[in-house]
Symmetry: C3
C-alpha cells in the first residue's frame, strides 16, 4: 500500500456508534450485512464478501491467524468482551475525526463522545432529522407547535450536520419547494393522529429545509440498505429537483453509500455545486472487490467532492474494515494511475488528502 495512503489522516464523515455490549452469533451475522438474519434457505452470512474480509483482516486484530474459522473467531471475540474488542478495532482503524449519526438505536451504542474517547479521536454529532422529529412528538407537541419545536431543537443542537433517512421512509423523490407553514402543521396533525414513525414527505422536506437554513450540511441515505427500503425509490437521481432548488444556498448536500447508483451520484456531484458523495457501507460490504467500486465511483466526480466514510454501525469490525478496505482501494486506484503515467505522485498525494480529510473539513467547516 502507498505509504501516503496508509498514513492518511481520515475524517469519517458518516458513521454510527459501536455496540456497548457483547453479541451472539445470530446477532453478529445480523449486523454483518443488510440482511436481518441468516436465512435458513441460504448458508452463513460469513459466506459473503464481507464475511471473508472479517476472517482475513479482523482475525489478526484479535490475535488469531488470518482466515480463522467463523466459530473460532466468534469464540475469541466473546472471550475478550465488548470493551476490548471495540478498543482493538477502533485503534486499528485509527480515524482522526468521527461525524456520528447517533439517532439509530442510541440505547445499544456508544454515543459520539464515548466512541471518540476509546481512541482519543475527535468527534462531532450529526443530527438525524427524523429521530429529532420523533423526539419532538414524544416530548408532546401540537400540530401547530411542531415546526417551532423542531426549530428550537435544531437551534440548540451542536451538530455539524444533519442526516435524513427519507430513502427509507418516503423515498427520494422529494418535491423541491419548501413546504408552507400550513402544510407542515397539517402534516404534523396527520402524524399526531396516526402515530408511528416520521414518514411523511412534507415533514421530511420541512426538516431538510430547516437544516439547510442553519447551514447544516444535509446527508441523505442513498441506495443500498436493508429490506425496509424500496431500493427503486433510493436512486439519487430522484433528488434532482430538490438539488436544483437548493443549489444556490451554498450548503453541502451529502449523498451517502450510493451503491448501486454510485455512478448516478457521481454525476450529481459533478453538475451540482453543493453535492458531495461517498462510498460508505459499500466499501466494507463488497470486501476484496472494493477497489473496482471506488474506481467506478471516481469516474466523473470531482476529487474535491468525494468524501471518506465507513457508515460503520454496531460491530467494531466494520470501523476497521471500512477504513482498511478504503485505504486499500484508494491505494490501488492511485497506484494504477501512477503506473500508467496518468497521475504523478504529488497529485496523487493531493487527491488522497482531499478525499481523506480536506473535503470533509471544508464542507463541514470543522476548523
Amino acid at each position: 500500500m502507498l505509504s501516503f495512503v496508509s498514513d492518511l489522516r481520515l475524517v469519517d464523515h458518516h458513521c454510527h456508534g459501536v455496540l456497548r455490549d457483547d453479541v451472539d452469533r445470530a446477532g453478529f451475522e445480523g449486523m454483518l450485512t443488510e440482511a436481518d438474519r441468516t436465512s435458513p434457505l441460504g448458508t452463513s452470512l460469513f459466506d459473503s464478501s464481507i464475511g471473508l474480509a472479517v476472517r482475513r483482516w479482523c482475525s489478526p486484530v484479535l490475535d488469531l491467524p488470518p482466515h480463522a474459522p467463523a466459530d473460532e473467531y466468534l469464540a475469541r471475540r466473546r472471550s475478550l468482551g465488548a470493551a476490548d474488542v471495540n478498543r482493538a478495532f477502533l485503534m486499528a482503524a485509527d480515524v482522526d475525526t468521527y461525524l456520528v449519526d447517533g439517532g439509530l438505536s442510541p440505547d445499544l451504542l456508544l454515543d459520539h463522545r464515548e466512541l471518540a474517547a476509546v481512541t482519543g479521536a475527535v468527534s462531532f454529532e450529526v443530527v438525524r432529522l427524523e429521530y429529532l422529529a420523533e423526539q419532538v412528538v414524544s416530548a408532546g407537541c401540537t400540530a401547530s407547535g411542531f415546526a417551532d419545536a423542531v426549530r428550537a431543537r435544531l437551534d440548540s443542537s451542536t451538530a455539524v450536520g444533519a442526516k435524513s433517512i427519507a430513502a427509507y421512509r418516503v423515498g427520494l423523490a422529494l418535491r423541491p419547494e419548501r413546504p408552507t407553514a400550513k402544510e407542515v402543521a397539517d402534516a404534523a396533525g396527520r402524524w399526531l393522529a396516526s402515530g408511528g414513525r416520521c414518514a411523511d414527505e412534507v415533514l421530511t422536506r420541512f426538516l431538510v429545509w430547516e437544516a439547510l437554513d442553519r447551514r447544516l450540511p444535509v446527508q441523505f441515505h442513498v441506495g443500498y440498505g436493508d429490506s425496509d427500503a424500496d431500493l427503486h425509490r433510493c436512486d439519487p437521481l430522484l433528488l434532482t429537483d430538490l438539488l436544483r432548488a437548493t443549489a444556490g444556498l451554498g450548503v453541502p448536500i451529502m449523498l451517502l453509500h450510493n451503491y448501486p447508483f454510485h455512478r448516478n451520484a457521481g454525476y450529481l456531484a459533478q453538475v451540482f455545486p453543493h453535492v458531495f458523495v461517498d462510498l460508505g457501507l459499500t466499501t466494507h460490504n463488497v470486501g476484496h472487490q472494493a477497489s473496482r467500486l471506488l474506481a467506478e465511483a471516481l469516474e466523473i466526480v470531482p476529487f474535491g467532492k468525494f468524501l471518506f466514510s465507513t457508515d460503520a454501525y454496531g460491530l467494531a469490525e466494520l470501523y476497521h474494515l471500512g477504513v482498511l478496505l478504503f485505504r486499500r482501494a484508494l491505494s490501488d486506484f492511485l497506484t494504477a494511475a501512477m503506473a500508467s503515467g496518468d497521475v504523478v505522485e504529488a497529485d496523487a498525494i493531493r487527491i488522497a488528502h482531499l478525499i481523506g480529510y480536506e473535503n470533509a473539513r471544508r464542507a463541514y467547516r470543522l476548523d
Copy 2:
C-alpha cells in the same frame, strides 16, 4: 483454470431444450443473441462477443481450429447434423443435472428427458406458468373454472420449480397480494373473451402464488431478453413488494439472468431470505468479458444464494459456452481472490461447490 473449478459438478438450474433439427445461417444468427435476425444496417451477429466466443471455443469441439471463419464453422456444423452437434457440445458442457423450462417452442426442442439422455445426465422439469395457463385455456375452460384447472395441472405436475415470464408479458411491477377468487375469475373471463397470450397482471400473480403454495421455487425472467420485453419494466427492484409479501413463506424465488441489473438483484438476494440470483444468458452473451460480470454479480450476494445456470436455448453451442465461460469466470474470480490473500483455497473450494451445485440442490430440494 483451477482444477476444482474445471472439475466442478454443475446443476444448471435454468435452461431450455436444444434444437431437434439443423438450422441454416439465418436461423443460427437469429438464435445466437437476443436479436431476431441480422440487421441489414449492421453486420453479421458473429461480430459480437458471443460470436467471437463461438468461433474460439466451439470450433475445436467440431474438430476445426479455434477461430474458424463463420462460414466454415456453419458448413462443418451442417455436415455433422443436429444429433452429432448436440452430442458434441452437451458432452463438452458436462452438466450433471438440468432443470429445464420446456414451455418455449416445445415442438422444436428436445424435452428435458431427451436432453438429459444425450449425455446420461439427470433432468427435472420446471413448469412455465404462462404456458401452463395457456394450455388450460386451449384445453377449454370457463372463467370460473380457470383457477381450479390451473391447480389441477400444478397438482399433477412433477416439476421441481416454476418459471414466470411476467417480465415479458406484464412487467415485474407485480402487486404483492394474492388475488381473490373473484379477481382471478374476472381476469380469466377477460382473457377468454379477448384471446391471445397470457398477459394479465392478476393472472400472473395468481400463478405465482399457486406455485408458492405448492412450495415450488419460482423463477422470474429478469432483465435482458429480446425486443419483446420493455427492459425498463424488467428491473428486479420492481419485484420488491412481492418479495416482501412472500419472504415469510420459506419458498425460494429465483431471479434469472439479471443483466444489466445484476447488482440490484444481488442486493435483493442479500436482504430477502428467499431470494436467489444467477447470471445465466449474460455469461455467454458477454463472451470473454464474463469474468468482470461475474465479479460484479458476486459483490454483495451471499455465496449461499448464487446459482449456476446457462439459460441455453436451442443452439447446442450455448450449453457449452454457458458452462465454459462460467467456469472460466468463476476460476478467474477465485484465482484473483487467492492471489491477493483474500480467500484461502479451502474456502474457494467451498464457494465453488455452493455455487456450482449445493445451492441448487438445497433450494430445489433435489435430494
Copy 3:
C-alpha cells in the same frame, strides 16, 4: 498502443464546433466538464479525471512537459491564442471526417466547414432538430404553417443526419406514434403563445418522424449531460416504444454518450435492427478510466453497431482527448482479448475498422 489502432482512420459521427476565441480560466473550467462552473465548495475542476488527462496529454501538444500545473498550462494556452491552440489539438486528433452538430452556440464556435478546414478533414452537417424548429419560429410562422416550414427547411438541408436533445427538453419517454397534423398545429400554437425554447413532446416527435421520413439517421442525446437535464428521464430504455415503432423503417437511430446507461444502450443496439450506440463525452470525461467504460459498452452490442464520437465541444483539448482516450481504450480492449486468445489479430483489425469508420460510413451513407 496497437499500431492498427493508433493509425485507425476515424469518423467522428458526433461533435460540435471548436471555440473561435480565447477563453479565461473560469471559462475553461466551465467547459471542461458538465458543471457550469467551479464550485466554491469544491476545488478546481482540474481536480477530476479529465483535469488530470488535460495536464498529462495536452501539455505536450503545447510544448509543455506532461502534467504541467494548471496555471502554467492556461498561461501557455493564452500566449498561443485560439487559432494556434485549435490547430495544434485538431492536428493531434487527426480525425478523418467530422459530423458536426452546429446548433449549439453557433456564434461562438467554428462551423463544420471551418472546423474541417483547420486540418483539411472532411465534414458533414448534422441538423439539430430543436434548433431548426426555433429558427422556424424566429423567422415567423403560424401554428398551422409550422409543420410545412419545418419540412421546407429539412428538404433544403444538406445534413447527413439529425440530432435531438429531447433528453434535455422533454425527457426520452417519447410516445411512439407520429403525431397528427392537428396535434402538431395545436402544439405549435401553444408554443407560439408561450414563447421560449422548443420543449414540447409532440413537436419533438414530429421532428423525429420528419427526419426519419427523409432517411436521416437521428441522433439522441442520452444519459450524462449538464444539470439542465433530469438524468432519470435520460435512460435510453425510455425510448423503447419509439424504437419499436420505427424499427421497420430501416433508418438508423444513434444513441449518443449513454453514461451511465451504456449497458442499457448496448442492449437496445443488440435487439433493435436500427439502433447504434457510442461512448462520446464519456470517454474524455472519465480520463484514464476510459478503458473500463469502453469494455462495458462493448459487452453485448454487436461490433457492427458501435460508433466512434468525441462529442467534443468548444475546447480544442476535447477533440484531442476524445480521440486519444478512445484509441487507448480500444487498444486496451483488443490487446487484452488477443492476449487471452479470445480474438485473433485479423479479427481485432476488422473490429477496429468497423468501430472507427466503417459503421459510420455505412449508417450515414457517406460514400
